[in-house]
Symmetry: C2
């Protein structure tokens, strides 16, 4: 996510026309939580957060996607959730690439990263 306030990544499962997790098959649901946990563990290693925030919201973009947000006790709004808190902060220079790379090197090759 283009918000330098916190490292923020969105997991988008490759399944069309799904808006809610329960619409996935039981096997796909397990795969989703497994992939989310791979991402979560990569975030722990790459960023050493105090807490992860993981959410399926989708009120604006309904296609299923899971927010994964790295939170620190020293971040701009701790302990509030990120939504409705402070405006997104622009990344400067190559900071967004460095942030994505810190994640990417921790992930299996089955993950691909798309910049939003």
């Amino acid at each position: 996510m283009r918000d330098a306030n916190y490292p923020w990544f969105i997991l988008v499962p490759d399944r069309a026309n799904i808006t809610e997790i329960y619409q996935l098959s039981a096997d796909e649901q397990c795969m989703l939580v497994h992939e989310s946990s791979l991402l979560a563990e990569a975030l722990m290693v790459g960023f050493s957060p105090d807490k992860l925030n993981i959410a399926a919201i989708g009120n604006v973009v309904p296609q299923l996607h899971l927010h994964h947000i790295v939170r620190y006790q020293h971040d701009p709004i701790w302990p509030a959730p990120v939504w409705g808190a402070v405006p997104a902060m622009e990344y400067q220079g190559d900071e967004i690439l460095r942030t994505a790379n810190k994640l990417l090197v921790q992930l299996p090759a089955s993950f691909s990263v798309i910049e939003l």
Copy 2:
């Protein structure tokens, strides 16, 4: 949750000292998403939402719990996420019990409801 703005339920898996989903075993992760989906389907039947919002935040109470929020396009803050939006609204009379019962009748007996 004591917020009459939206039907809002919290799933608390019966596992001590867990703060992040990835800390559960692979089997427990599948169980968690399965139970979350049972709750989600019960919410769909009981409340006919336009969207469900499901989130693991835990910045204040770190023990693992999953928010499940019923959202309508006509609710007070749609499409914003509920956090940081409007103050919680008190339930009136037995409305909180009626809301809980609307959910409870849709859930398997393995779920128990605790009022927070």
